[in-house]
Symmetry: C2
């Protein structure tokens, strides 16, 4: 694979290992983060440091962003000293953040006007997936741009799917977060009803996992949840952010999402109770609170 000069913005819990994998694969990195401490490892391993997104764009063939939320991506891409100010024709821009699909479309539209080729490419798989280079990557964009980006994406991910035109990666990520949220809420309501009616939660998990009710969420988290082990995993506060994107997408595309709305409120209650740092499976504790089942953790 050809080595390329890659700019990377956002070296958080996901971005840092993604950068490390790109460096290990022989690429030359230019990195930027508002928190300069986060650049430490990347710079030690040979990355150049840029002082603004504009500078990153000016010195890279490919720019990747991995940022917390939609406004961050808008600011980094389109804001003052943003990517757009340093963009060059034919440059490749891959936003791997999870953001609102319509923001992804708007950012790509503006970048495209400057001749930048864009992909939205949100991931799932968490920090473990990022460290192991085994993320699932959901990509929106045109086929030629996807093909060009694929060798780079393969350094970070295992399952990489072109979902459709720009924004489609974010849409599929939103769909994914709907299904995971409702699988979790279903498990939580089932376990709470079972517990309050006096049924051993292990029996509930055993029976449900043995049949049509089975979910991967239950396979992975069921045994831990009933021990009160809510070590993340995927933090509730991040799923709450993602469900807010889901609800925004519903409004943007005209799709009422009544069950996701309930999931959003339940995750909101979890954050209000100060449990945003727990694994999202701790949504169970919100149902337990509602039903006044004796809490197993707090």
């Amino acid at each position: 694979m050809a080595e390329r000069k890659i700019g990377f913005i956002g070296l958080g819990i996901m971005g840092q290992p993604m950068v490390a994998n790109l460096q290990d694969a022989g690429h030359t990195l230019v990195v930027h983060d508002l928190d300069r401490d986060r650049l430490h490892h990347a710079v030690l391993a040979g990355a150049a440091e840029a002082t603004s997104p504009r500078e990153v764009a000016e010195s890279s063939e490919v720019v990747i962003t991995m940022l917390p939320d939609s406004p961050d991506v808008e600011a980094v891409a389109l804001g003052s000293d943003g990517l757009i100010e340093g963009a060059t024709r034919g440059q490749l821009y891959i936003d791997m953040s999870t953001i609102a699909p319509q923001v992804a479309v708007r950012v790509a539209d503006e970048m495209c006007e400057r001749g930048v080729r864009c992909l939205d490419a949100p991931v799932s798989g968490g920090d473990v997936g990022a460290i192991e280079g085994k993320l699932s990557i959901m990509v929106g964009g045109d086929e030629a741009t996807f093909t060009d980006a694929l060798p780079i994406l393969r350094v970070m991910g295992e399952t990489i799917t072109l979902c459709g035109p720009i924004g489609s990666g974010q849409i599929v990520k939103a769909c994914n977060q709907i299904q995971v949220a409702l699988n979790l809420v279903g498990m939580a309501e089932a376990l709470t009803l079972g517990a309050k009616a006096g049924v051993d939660p292990e029996v509930v998990i055993e029976v449900l996992s043995g049949g049509y009710a089975r979910t991967r969420v239950m396979d992975v988290r069921g045994p831990r949840v009933i021990r009160g082990d809510f070590e993340p995993g995927f933090k509730a506060k991040l799923h709450y952010k993602d469900i807010n994107i889901v609800m925004q997408s519903g409004r943007d595309y005209g799709v009422p999402l009544p069950a996701s709305a309930i999931a959003r409120e339940l995750f909101g209650a979890m954050l209000a109770a100060g449990r945003g740092e727990l694994d999202h499976s701790a949504i169970l504790t919100v149902l337990e609170d509602l039903a006044r089942v004796e809490a197993r953790t707090d």
Copy 2:
């Protein structure tokens, strides 16, 4: 296995094949149904016909009921000319209907006062499971009664779990129907959002099935749902009945179930639209209606 004299009440779409399997296993059957036409096959195969539940109880060692809903079980067990009037000490009574857990407890309490040993034993697996003798059976009751009933249950089911004391089988069945309903609703909201945002539903299914969002519901029904194939399967009207039992259980045991409540309303909308005979996965069509996505079936 010792042949036993088994009374069976309720020869509907589930009961008929269950009776046939019991007859094939060498048991002697006494059967009863309000609709006498349904007794035809069982009688041809050697079953005696009883004119009332009382008569069934008077002439059987073991009585099994497989009825539509809680009031039917209450009437057959405790009503005039009911099982309780013909009950004998030490008799075994297995209710395999899906009913409200607290009704199961009340019926068992009254039967128990006459010396009848009771189990609640609702099933999942549908008519195909009933025909093949491969139902999942969730049993509530004491261990000795369960052990006594096990050879009979094994004729009808494959996975048979003692879930706890009387009522526990119904509780676990309710938990199962919560999880399945929310897995279905999650799939429906995800596919509707994806479709209206222009993403190929096959891509949504492919990506979600490949990761943490995976459910057995999606494995089994996803490919059919996106073709608009809603052939049951498990009819929506039956899941609606079951979710009403879920909500009743939530009230009885003091467990608020906000997401299940939404699922109940969505299934209610499906029945109101005249789609109660479709597979429950057709809950997708309700979301499509809400979002005014072009319907693929009606």
